[in-house]
Every structure is written in C-alpha cells, then in structure tokens.
C-alpha cells in the first residue's frame, strides 16, 4: 500500500534532496512537497497524508503554527519536525504541541527514514484499526437493526397468533348464536384494529326462507350500542350480499362506492352518549363471508373504519382466518339451538298444561329448565284417577337432550296409562322397570292421594324423598324406597303408605332443587325443610315460588329443577263450589266430591246418596244435552242452610227435551229425590235449582 507523505520547507535545496532520498530508500512512499505552511495547509485540507515532515522556521506561518492547524484538521496524521542546530527548545515545544518526532539538521538520513517509516506504519495501522472499527460498528449496527426488525416481526406474529388463539377460544367458548356473534365482532375489531364491526348469522329455517328476510338473521355489532340502532332491513341486505359472495372484499374509499356510502345504515344517527361525538363516516370497509361445510352460507362479517385504506391485505387474511373459526362455532351453536329447541318443545309438551282442580286440594308446580346445558329429563305430572284419587308423579331421567326427553315421554305416558287402568303403585313400578329402554336410568316417585281417606300410597324408585309439611309446621321426609328404574335385575317393589293430617302439604321435587355442587345432599335437604317450614303460612302457589327462589338463591340453574306441592284441607261444611269439564268422566268425580262434602256437612248416608243421585242426573243432562263437541264446563254450587241442602247447577247450554220412550228418567229421579226442582232455561244457559230438607236424620 502506497503511503503519502508531504514535505514542507522553505529551503529549495532540502526540498530537492529529501524526496529523492525518500523515493530511493522508501519506494512505496509517494512524496509531495510545498515551500510554505500556507500552501501545505491547502493540500492537507484536500489530502489525508500518512505523515507530514515540516521545517520549524519558515517565513509566514512557521512549523509550530502549521502543527496547530494540522492538529485541528488531521489530528491523526503524524507530523515530524526538522529543526536547526541549537533549536532544541523549539523541538521540545513542537513535541508538546503534538509532533510525532523531530530530526535535527544536518539531517541524519537513517534516523529520518526510521522515524518516518514508523510514523507511517503507526498511521496506517491506526487507519486500519479505525476502518475495522468502523466496519465493525457498522456491522453491529446492521445486526442491531436486523434484530430489531426480526423482534418486531416475531412480536407481531406472536401477537397475531395470540389474538387468533384468543379469538378462537372466545368464539368456541360462546354458547348460542348471539354469544358467538358478540365474540366475533369483538375479535374482528381487535384483529383489524378498529372499533366498528358487524357480524350476522343466517338461521336457515327447516321450511326454507331467503337470505333477505331480516327475521332469519341474528346480528351483533361493535360498538354494542349500535346493535339496536342500525337499520335492520338495510344491514341484512348488506350481510346477505357479503354472505353470498365467494370471497371478502377490501374497499379503501367507501364514499366512491354507492353500496357502502351510507355504512353503517342508520349508524350515522349514533350521537353523544354512545361514545360517538359526531355522526360516523366510514371510509374503509372490509367484508368477509362466513361459509360452513359445503359452502353453506352461515353469515357475514363487515368491518369499518373512518380512515381511508385502513385495511391491509394482511388484515384481510386474518379476518378470513377469523371467519373460518366463526363458521365452526356458528355451525355448532345452530345445531345446539336446534337440538335444544326440539328437546325443550318435547319436554314442555309433556308437562301438564294445568293441574287438576279438586275441592279441598290446592296444588302448585314449578319447572325451571337448566340454563347452561342441554335440556334434562326431569318431569312432573298430576292427574285425577277415575276413582277420584289424585296421582302425583315426579321423575328424573339420567342424561340430557332429545334422548332423555324422549325416555321421559315414554315413562310419563306409561305411568298415566297404567294409573288409569287402576294399577296400584308397586305394580306400576314393576311394569315401568320392564318397559324402560335398557340403556336408560330414571328415578321416579309415584304417589296416590285419596281425599276421602287422607291416605297416600306411594313408591319411591331411587328419587329424593317427598316431604310432608304438617299443619303444625313440622316437616318429615316420607321413608322407604327402592332402586331406580333401569336396574337390570327383575325387582318387586314395596308400596309405602302414610296418612296425612288435614291441612298437610306434600312436597315433591327433583335433586336440582337441593343439590349444590361440592355440598353433601343432606345439607340441601335440611335447607329444603327449613325453607318449607318458614313458608308454611303461604298459599301453595306462592309457597312453591318462594321455595324455588330461596333454594336457588340466585345461583345459576345448572340442572333442571321441578317442584310440585299438594295441600289437602278439609272441605267447608257450609259451602261447596265446583266447576268441572262437561265430559262424562267428570260425573264419578262429582259424585265422590259431593258425597265427601255431604259427609262433612253432617248429612246421613241415605240422604247423601239420594242428593248425590239427583245432582248427578242434573249434571249428566248438562254434559249430555247442553253442549256441542267443544270444551265446556258446568258448575255446581251447594250450600247447607237452615232449610236443608240447596243446590244450583248451571251450564251454558240449552237442555233439549227428552227423546224416546225410555228416556226422561233423569228428571223423574231428580223430582222424586228432591223436595223442589226448578229448571230455568234461557239464552245464557240452563240453571237447575234444587232443594232438599233434612228431616231429623242429620247427624249432630
């Protein structure tokens, strides 16, 4: 490598001699000369020499002055001084001023060569070191930049993966279409970095229906407040448009696009109080169809932003990934809703529409479907047997969903059928155990209450025990029971028996009422007893409401809960009021109730039989003649007065005159058995008033 050296001296002889000598002895050195400090400075500004050799004493700027300039301009360039004999002080001064070395005149050529060579070497080494250092620094800097870029990329990727994972988790944790959609708009907004998003799900009904029908769409919006304010008709049109497209679309300037100019439709009306300071003007739009298996249109996602060209291709890819997650979640949610809908309908249709009405018997029932899982298999039932007794049923099929509801339906109908056949509780239990689906398991409580004798006959097949609240306000669980239905061994069941005191309340329920996860069931049963006791004074309907509220105490209903209560009170001996369906099967019931009331009123058995027969005939006429084949009722109002028993029977129809020779015995019987019979027929219906004196045969 060629070194460049500048020699400065006002002595032409020296300027002649030195370069020649240097060229000779140091062939790698390029030598330049200048005869003044000023001329030298000009070059030094332009050229970075490896060494400078200068005379000290020169006219104009001397060597020391030049050194001072060099130290400023080229601080790394070694400067050698040539000093005259006896200029030792100056030489020392030059060293202090930063000179590399000095050579005294007459110049010792060897020494000069040696010191100059060293100076050049040091200079070049330093330059090399500096270059390397610079290169190193540059490299380090480049590395740093690369690391920074990579780190940012990594962080962004991680953030994106995290966001998508979070999105997937949130979406799949959501239950029901509405929750999924809310998770989707939240996630879409986060992924795209915007606050405006709308997602819709199309619920395709079984019987067909088009995308354009707003009632078939469930919609969620971000911000939340927008959901209620957007123009539903218009947003459904847009969602249907986006949903039917094969791919998504990015629009950088919505104002130039007539389809999107007014997006969100109706959203511009969002004002203060919603976090919107001014009407929203959306400029950027990103659309994404949500398609399920087989390309089925499930819905659509629309994102908006006020900034133009806001959504990059990258955001588009992410929203596409989101749409795939949303599709899976929505398909699941729709299936879940569908199944739950079927099961709920099935279950609801199997619960009694109304409880049997019976004088002296008050009933209340509540049913709460479990909120978070599929429908369970709990059911209750209450009906009057042809014998006039009241059957109460409480059951719980293990498992959930349509299957459990179907098993429950089979059991419920079987219980009713066997009960109407007149089978006793134990026989019903045995038949049910043979009938039940071998895969199924169910607990069941079947009770028959006889209002005439105040007796309760029952079987308990693995069910939580029924509770009796006595008129003194004490409680006791009814004992006894066998294994649940579906227990493989052929079993015979034992019928249990108890007698209620008048005024007692029977309480039947399912385990959902008393069971709290992580708590022993005894604690729940004890809580039920306490709750039943301190609500004892309420009427049965209010009591079941209160018991349900207090037992659940605001905790979410995980399992289904069914509760059924029956309170049996003595009849009022002065008055009986009845209203029964105008069907033949009401008549045996009417006779039983009437006999029970006449007994309570102290009427002797023969009189009671005759009064009952007369009433039966009047009511049979109401049933047989009064009505067309529609659901109607008739009423009986009986009172015990000082004159005896007074009975009014009314219906809404017209009595027809008896037809045929053998007919008309009914009226004859009524007239023969009662003291007076008056029949008043008018456009409003027919009223039969009957009166029977009680002569001496009245019991005390």
């Amino acid at each position: 490598m060629t070194a460049r050296v500048l020699i400065v001296d006002d002595d032409p002889a020296l300027l002649e001699a030195l370069p020649g000598m240097l060229r000779l002895r140091m062939p790698d050195v390029a030598v330049e000369t200048r005869d003044s400090a000023a001329a030298a400075l000009e070059r030094i500004v332009a050229v970075d020499y490896d060494a400078i050799v200068t005379d000290i004493k020169m006219p104009g700027m001397d060597g020391l002055g030049l050194l001072a300039q060099i130290r400023v301009l080229r601080p790394d360039t070694p400067t050698l001084f040539i000093t005259g004999h006896g200029e030792h002080d100056l030489a020392v001064q030059s060293l202090r001023g930063g000179a590399y070395d000095y050579v005294q005149k007459p110049v010792d050529r060897d020494y000069l060569m040696a010191t100059l060579g060293r100076a050049i070497q040091v200079r070049q080494l330093r330059r090399q070191v500096m270059a390397q250092q610079e290169a190193l620094e540059r490299h380090a800097q480049e590395l740093e930049t690369i690391v920074a870029i990579r780190t940012r990329e990594l962080r962004e990727t991680a953030e994106r993966v995290r966001a998508l994972t979070e999105v997937a988790t949130a979406i799949h944790a959501a239950q029901g279409v509405e929750e999924v959609l809310n998770a989707v708009v939240g996630a879409a907004g986060r992924l795209a970095g915007t606050g405006i998003a709308i997602a819709g799900c199309f619920r395709e009904p079984g019987g067909g229906g088009t995308l354009a029908e707003p009632r078939l769409w469930e919609i969620a919006a971000l911000p939340r407040e927008m959901t209620g304010q957007i123009d539903r008709q218009e947003i459904v049109r847009l969602l249907a448009h986006v949903g039917s497209a094969r791919t998504g679309e990015r629009i950088g300037d919505a104002s130039a696009d007539p389809r999107w100019r007014d997006f969100p439709p109706g959203g511009g009306a969002l004002g203060e109080g919603n976090g919107w300071s001014a009407p929203v003007r959306i400029t950027s739009i990103l659309t994404m169809p949500v398609h399920g298996r087989g390309g089925k249109i499930l819905g659509a996602i629309i994102l908006g932003d006020t900034a133009p060209d806001r959504f990059t291709e990258d955001v588009g890819v992410q929203i596409q990934a989101l749409a795939r997650q949303a599709a899976i979640a929505l398909e699941n949610a729709l299936l879940y809703e569908h199944e739950r809908g079927i099961a709920e309908t099935l279950q609801r249709s199997l619960l009694p529409q109304r409880l049997p009405e019976f004088p002296g018997v008050a009933m209340g029932a509540r049913y709460l479907p479990g909120s978070h899982e599929a429908v369970g298999g709990d059911w209750y039932d209450a009906f009057t047997l042809p014998t006039g007794q009241i059957a109460l049923v409480m059951g719980d099929v293990a498992g959930r969903g349509i299957w459990a509801a179907a098993v429950m339906g089979q059991l419920r109908n079987a219980v009713r059928a066997y009960a109407h056949e007149g089978l006793p509780p134990a026989a019903i239990a045995e038949r049910l155990n043979r009938l039940i689906d071998p895969e199924a398991m169910a607990t069941l409580l079947y009770l028959v209450f006889d209002p005439d004798t105040w007796t309760v006959r029952y079987v308990n097949l693995g069910h939580v025990p029924p509770l009796v609240l006595t008129p003194d306000g004490t409680t006791e669980f009814l004992p006894g029971g066998g294994p649940p239905l579906g227990t493989p061994q052929a079993l015979t069941y034992r019928e249990e028996f108890t007698v209620l005191r008048p005024g007692s309340t029977l309480v039947l329920y399912t385990d959902g009422l008393v069971e709290i996860r992580g708590e022993a069931i005894d604690a729940g049963l004890e809580r039920l007893e306490q709750t039943i006791r301190h609500t004892a004074r309420l009427d049965v309907g209010t009591q079941v409401d209160r018991v349900l509220a207090e037992m659940l105490n605001g905790r979410p209903v995980g399992d289904d809960v069914a509760l059924l209560a029956l309170r049996a009170t003595p009849l009022n001996p002065r008055r009986l009021e009845l209203r029964l369906p105008a069907v033949p099967t009401s008549l045996p019931q009417l006779r039983r109730i009437l006999r029970r009331w006449l007994d309570a009123a102290g009427v002797d058995a023969d009189d009671a039989y005759e009064i009952t027969t007369a009433c039966h005939e009047a009511c049979a006429n109401a049933v047989e003649h009064a009505y067309g084949p529609t659901d109607q009722t008739f009423g009986l109002d009986a009172a015990k007065t000082d004159e005896g028993i007074v009975i009014d029977i009314c219906d809404g129809g017209q009595w027809r005159p008896p037809q045929g020779a053998r007919r008309g015995h009914g009226l004859k019987l009524m007239q023969a058995l009662m003291d007076t019979v008056d029949i008043a027929s008018g456009p409003q219906g027919t009223l039969v008033k009957m009166h029977r004196r009680l002569t001496g045969r009245v019991r005390a």
């Binding site: 042809p386 045996p588 005939e617 009914g666 019987l669």
Partner: protein, 120 residues
C-alpha cells in the same frame, strides 16, 4: 275409554247366563256395559240374569239400559231378571223409576235362577 269403575263378568249357572256387574254404572261407561250384555244374548239360553248385587251406583242411563234389555228379550221371548239385594242403595232408584213394573227384581241370585228355570 273403558272405565275401571265397572267390571262385567259372565258365568253360566244351570244353562242360564248370569252377568255379574260390579262398580258404578253411569253415563260414562253405560255403553260399554251395554255392549258386553248384548254380546251374551243368545236364542239358545232360556233368558238372562243381571246381578247388580255389587253395583254401588246406577244412574238414569243405567235404568234405560235395563229397560232396553227387557224389551229386546221380550221380543225374543226370553226371560229377564235382575238381582238387587234389599239393602242395596240402587234399589230406591229402580223403584222410583218403576223398573220393577217391567223387570222382576229378585233379592238374591238363587231365587232369580229358580224363577227362570220354573218358567222355561
């Protein structure tokens, strides 16, 4: 729907079909009872006995049924008797509706059987 409130069992005693009814007979189940009784009417038997000993209730439709049976048997020249114990609750209903003027009422099955056999 068949109501379990009434039970009809038919036995033959000395060549005479006897229908033992048990329970309550009223508008709700009278047509079932009627069908069962019409099934057992034959021309070969000397007549029919309807045993109401264990019937605890009989309404005017039950009365009509007895009168109808009586008519049908009369047309075929067959004898018809009903059994109702003295203490029975339904006896008063039968007397009040004058069933006894058309259908002979026996207090016990034996006497009813004896009457039919004597006349045949």
């Amino acid at each position: 729907m068949t109501m379990p409130l009434v039970d009809v069992r038919v036995k033959e005693r000395s060549g005479v079909p006897v229908a033992h009814l048990e329970g309550e007979i009223d508008i709700a189940n009278v047509s079932d009872v009627r069908n069962r009784l019409l099934e057992i009417l034959t021309n070969t038997a000397p007549g029919l006995i309807v045993d109401l000993t264990n019937v605890t209730y009989l309404d005017s439709r039950g009365v009509q049924l007895l009168l109808e049976l009586s008519e049908r048997l009369q047309v075929r020249q067959l004898r018809f008797r009903i059994v109702v114990p003295e203490h029975s609750m339904i006896r008063r209903v039968l007397l009040l509706t004058h069933v006894d003027s058309v259908v002979p009422i026996d207090a016990a099955l034996d006497s009813a059987l004896a009457s039919i056999q004597t006349h045949s």
